[in-house]
Amino acid sequence: MSTHQFEILLLASMTAVTCALPGVFLVLRRVALMSDAISHAILLGIVLAFFWTKNLASPLLIVGAAVMGIVTVALTELIIQTRKLKKDAAIGLVFPFLFSIGVILLNRFTGDIHLDADCVLFGEIAFAPFNRLVIDGVDLGPQSLWTTGAILVLNLVFITLFFKELKLATFDPGLAAALGFMPVALNYGLMSLVSITAVASFESVGSILVVALMIAPPAGAYLLTDRLHWMLAISAGLGIISAVGGYLMAYLLDASIAGSMATFAGIVFLFVFVFAPERGLLARFIVRRWTKWNFASDTLAVHLLNSEMAHAEDTERIVSHMNEHMLWDTQYTSEVIAQSIQDGLIRKTGDKLSLTPLGREKAKESISKK
């Protein structure tokens, strides 16, 4: 692996973790779409800050982006408060408006500099290693590695410091307010974090794919754990897997790195969605199937127990008549019988079914449970 490749991989992984951390709270607060809104609207903030500073490397660009992210949240809240529109419509109104102003300003007034719409939308992580941070002639690595690193640390510090407060404000805003933890202020703090994260990830993955990295890993982690701190850790892990896997995919397919990373994030989520130990599709399917068969053999055992206790006629217990008694179809009946025999609940003597001691016990237990 060349140094460039390593640097790209490191940057991709750091971006993924930086995005996944605040993303956890977006997913839990059911405002995942807010990441989409913010990551677009901040373009206007960046452009305006650029007009002010005339310098693409200025840290004021990040400040401009953060301010515009908060403006997006505030405008959305303002529209919701009129009670004329719901949240999704409000988000859908605000961010295209701000984003389109940004796009117009961008191609009307900044034609000759390197800040074009393509770069904003898709980023270009492959070029990141060429823009290096050099101080006193010493090469300290790609500049974006340092910006992303700084924002990763910022996210870590914020979430560690306010872990308890964020947890309470997300789970129960009412109690958070009653205890004086200012959930509204925390919400704006979190949204500023999302804005800053989005602007830092701009350069590498662009404003569309940043959404994938903010939402897919936390959504996967949500299916894998019951604890918030684990959800944060697993999100970060899934983010790194998406970054590394996406990079490999891009290498093999000779495709866009950012695009491959987002695709791989989707694949990782899909994998978790299907194979998660308790909440995955497969696990649920197996449990449901097991419950269904278990219930069917219970029903059969209880039927045999009842006919035993009532000393009913033997026809009640004859294999070939069983489907009529249970009102099951023939195929299903013979499957249930075969399964119950295999489980040692019933035995077949000639044409007649009877309960084994184990089956009798289980049937009695089922009845007593109602």
């Binding site: 410091l161 947890k167 789970f171 129960d172 009412g174 109690l175 205890l179 004086g180 604890r227």
Partner: protein, 261 residues
């Protein structure tokens, strides 16, 4: 009698509300409400949907800004830092699929004592276990909260209220959606709190149990229509004023009814 009265005047009411009006977009939700809850009482706030019951509770805690009037808690404007009020929101207002367990939810009640930045200690955890023991949920401490029944969720909320250890408790429909057994044990626990000198104020919906569970009641429908001892206030006349014409279902709950036939 005179001495008792003299003594009573020196004890401040737990909550004192004067001329409180709360409005959303100039539409009054609470309209010139006067309300006083004596200390150690068990008071129900009763009224139809949209009567402003939850808003009243939120105004007491200062979470809703009044358009007019004032709220005093033990004679002072309420500040969350004073931790005088323990709050139990409606069960439906939180996300029960949130990745957390029973012990953790109870510990959240302790956050007010901890303040910003500090994490719960072993002492807080011990307290939480004691409170879970009181509500009979010791076997569930590590259970993910979505796997609890409605009654169990309400018990967890109650344990979280106990750990707040406040002189006043405001509870928003603590009996909503719980079975009869749980309702019994909740009321027993609330009585214990009252015996320890706590003031308990609940939004309540079931007029059938009102007389049995509570000693004071506020009948509310945007305006405060009646306030006082349950036995004095719960009359057909007052219920009619609170619930409007739809009072056929109220028959048999009050003491002042004319015998039928």
């Amino acid at each position: 009698m005179g001495a008792a009265k003299g003594k009573k005047e020196t004890i401040k009411p737990a909550i004192e509300i004067t001329d409180l009006t709360v409005a959303y977009h100039e539409k009054p939700v609470l309209w010139d409400v006067d309300f006083e809850a004596p200390q150690d009482c068990m008071l129900a706030i009763v009224g139809p949907n949209g009567a402003g019951k939850s808003t009243l509770i939120k105004s007491i805690m200062g979470l809703v800004k009044p358009a007019a009037g004032r709220v005093l808690v033990f004679g002072k404007t309420y500040r969350p830092e004073s931790r005088l009020i323990g709050y139990v929101p409606q069960r439906g207002t939180v996300d029960w699929d949130f990745p957390t367990n029973v012990l953790d939810v109870v510990l959240m009640g302790r956050y007010g004592h901890l303040g910003w930045f500090k994490r719960p200690t072993d002492k807080d955890r011990r307290l939480a276990l004691e409170c879970l023991d009181k509500v009979g949920m010791t076997d569930f401490i590590n259970r993910q909260i979505s796997q609890l029944s409605g009654g169990q969720q309400q018990r967890v909320f109650l344990a979280r209220a106990f750990i707040q250890d406040a002189p006043i408790y405001l509870m928003d429909e603590p009996f909503a959606g719980v079975d009869a057994t749980t309702e019994r044990s909740i009321i027993t626990l609330l009585r214990e709190l009252q015996d320890r000198g706590k003031t308990i104020i609940c939004v309540h919906h079931d007029l059938q149990t009102l007389k049995e569970y509570f000693d004071h009641v506020l009948l509310l429908n945007v305006r405060a229509l009646a306030l006082g001892k349950v036995s004095d206030v719960l009359t057909q006349e007052n219920l009619k004023r609170t619930y409007g014409g739809r009072t056929a279902f109220l028959a048999g709950m009050t003491e002042d009814e004319e015998p039928r036939g």
